[in-house]
Amino acid sequence: MAAPSAPPGPETAATPPERRVTPARWLRENLFSSPSNSLLTLITGLLLAWALVSFGRFLLITGRWDIIEVNLTNFMVGGFPRGQLARLWVAMAMMTIAVTISAGITSATAAEAAIAADRDPSVTVRERVQRAGPPLVLLFVMIVFVRTWLPLALLAGVLVLGVGGFRVGRRLPARWRGRAGIGAVLLIVVALTAISSFGGVSRDAWGGLLLTVYYTVGSLLLAFPIGVALALGRRSSLPVVRAGCGIFIEFFRGSPLIALLFVGWLILPFFLPVGFPTPDLVTRALIIFVLFTSAYVAEIVRGGLQSIPRGQLEAAQALGLSPWKQTRLVILPQALRNVIPALVGQAISLYKDTTLVLIIGQIELLAVAQNVTQQEAFIGQGYIAETLVFVSLIYWVGSYWMSRESQRLEARLGVGTR
């Protein structure tokens, strides 16, 4: 696209002649450049071929995938009452719109940052295919296993909404972006609460991927403000506040999450006043996830705060802004933009950590994979490999895709290059 580039001059004549890379030459240079290299190629090739062939055989021939087909709804929602599934579709549509609008806004912001930094903001076709790859794989697998038409039609509807949301977000005028972001967060909160409120399904009946997503999204949303506050506290000029926030952060970062979940499971109710109704297990686990995540978010945000040059603060002071406004209007917006990729990294690790709630007896995705092998039709036949591979795929696609997108975002926002 129209990226500003160096004016044509004598340099253009100095570019090296284009090398023609024939397949044979490519092979020689990349695989057989020396005898030892050829040997290495051979050994690696054999190992890789063996691994791919065994895995391919398992996928296509020996794997018995009927257990997934029969239990697909269990994997998605666990014991969620089947009569109430419509609520989930509505919630999913709302969340899709919220996420895609935010993604559109982020994409537009990143493109502007790229233009401002003299980098090409355009996206090549190859890049688009690579980006769409992982979710398409998951979509394909779902389509293979879905046995009725209704879910497919609904899924297509959600996809259309998603594409629409992205386009709207992309074209939103800059002054509406902030409000749209807050709106998106509110929409997610409403979607998640709408599942259980208004005569809905109590969260103790939730399961499968639904519970995984709930823990991930819920803890991130709640942990973010706490984490920012902790980070500001840890950089405060008041020594007592600094120390207090530091102790909190280091305690939660030094403890294993699963031990903390045991605390939430077994003794958190004891910390409430006598006679106070005991919160349900999902709430207790969520509290632990929020506290744990907020400590990590705090450290990430602190890194962002430290990356802001001192001149920014001095400029804000020179303008006569109050300390609170210096932080809110000058420091935080820049700091947070710098740490978006690291925050995505935290989201990935939270997504993977939600598996731990199976140890305190919650039926999330991984627990479903174990439990369905105990069904009458499948027990004692070693179906565990199939179900584990299936849920691994869901985890893998989710975190691989998020990490790819965050790397891309990092490059486009130009973090560390300004």
Partner: protein
């Protein structure tokens, strides 16, 4: 909360003090007192709730239970049900450290190798290494643990028809028996010989070093020193009675004699954590190597160093410095992740604590001990990492 209050002056131009509610010093003290009061108040509130609840339920708040007999056994150790809870938790901590320390060593080794391979000039090797990294680090460690435990180790043959590959090991779903060394009668004498050999090697190496400094002739101190040690060790091995003997596991019906038993729980936990963490370390190593300025490699090439020497003497030492803090973080993560062993009942600290709670011991105290122990392990590890880090940084000057 505001980072910039201290710079304000206390008196204005006419020498008037500002009123206390606008005096920065007063505000700062008041804010901190308020913070402490809020924090202590919250802690006191939580603690009094805990005390009331425990009193209501008749649960004791002291640590006297530590000396009661445990009432459960821990497999893989000689811990008996009559020993105290204190000993049980200690065994659990040892089991935690057993996985953590070996896991850290193996993950570091594999991580460095894979990280270097990711930058190989060989396209296939590079791709294979990146598949390794991308597959392993995007899957929850718990999935790996359960996979290795249930889908790999539990599908091995039962003990009565266990596999005995090469007749040197026994492979069954109750565990894998590996050939192991046993100490013989001459161990003490041989150890003494070995100490002498090492000392002699060091002396010889120092002598070669002096020769090199004085004459400039190549010192070959590794060759000389190593040779001396090998000759002495060989002599000792031949003249003394054999210091060690191999113990080969032997399957007889449903029992195995000899060899060393690798428990499936231990193996599954160790392998999963090593694979998972090594993928992260590989990424750190790759990033650090790429962060070494290109000029360094080119300078080494210009000096005529071989590609191995370039890596070992120029690139890796500098990359190590960059990689140290992040790698230390991964060590901490691995040691905390050992607690995931609770899902396959590997008797690490948390699992032992859970067994004790199941036997009616008070959960608050047990979990407090478990958390404190894990925090302690983290603290010691991060202290070690910090020291190593500082030493690495000092080399620069």
């Amino acid at each position: 909360m505001q980072p910039t209050e201290q710079a304000a002056s206390v008196r204005d131009a006419d020498g008037h003090r500002p009123p206390p509610w606008r005096d920065v010093r007063v505000i700062r003290v008041a804010l901190q007192v308020g913070f402490v009061a809020a924090a202590l108040g919250t802690i006191w509130w939580l603690y009094s709730n805990l005390a009331n609840n425990l009193a209501r339920l008749g649960i004791r708040r002291d640590f006297a239970f530590l000396d009661q007999s445990a009432g459960f056994t821990i497999f893989g150790s000689d811990f008996s049900a009559t020993s105290s809870i204190r000993v049980a938790l200690w065994v659990g901590l040892q089991n935690t450290l057993r996985v953590a320390l070996l896991g850290i060593a193996l993950a570091l080794l594999i991580g460095i190798v894979v990280g270097v391979l990711r930058l190989s000039s060989n396209w296939l090797v590079k791709r294979t290494a990146s598949i390794y990294v991308e597959v392993l680090r995007n899957v929850p460690p718990l999935v790996l643990i359960i996979f290795f435990y249930l889908a790999v180790l539990q599908t091995l043959p039962g003990i009565s028809d266990a596999a005995t590959p090469g007749d040197v090991m026994v492979v069954s779903n109750r565990g894998v028996w590996l050939p192991w060394v046993e100490l013989g009668t001459g161990t003490g004498a041989f150890a003494a010989t070995a100490a002498v050999a090492v000392l002699a090697a060091m002396l010889v190496a120092a002598w070669r070093r002096r020769v090199h400094d004085a004459t400039g002739r190549p010192h070959h101190r590794v060759l000389w020193g190593g040779g001396t040690a090998l000759v002495l060790l060989g002599l000792g091995y031949l003249t003394l009675s054999p210091p060690i003997s191999m113990s080969i596991p032997l399957l007889e019906g449903r029992s195995v004699t000899g060899g060393a038993l690798l428990f499936p729980e231990y193996a599954a936990l160790l392998v999963s954590l090593v694979l998972y963490t090594s993928a992260f370390i590989a990424e750190i190593v790759r990033g650090s190597i790429q962060a070494v300025p290109k000029g360094q490699v080119e300078a080494a090439q210009a000096l005529g160093l071989s590609s191995w020497d370039r890596l070992r003497r120029v690139v890796l030492p500098q990359a190590l410095r960059i990689a140290a803090p992040a790698t230390g973080n991964e060590f901490l993560n691995l040691s905390k992740n050992v607690s995931l062993g609770v899902v396959i009942a590997y008797p690490e600290l948390l699992r032992v604590g859970r067994q004790a709670i199941g036997n009616g011991q008070p959960a608050p105290q047990i979990l407090l001990i478990v958390l404190a122990a894990y925090l302690g392990v983290s603290l010691v590890l991060s202290l070690g990492v910090n020291i190593a880090n500082r030493r690495l940084q000092l080399v620069e000057h």
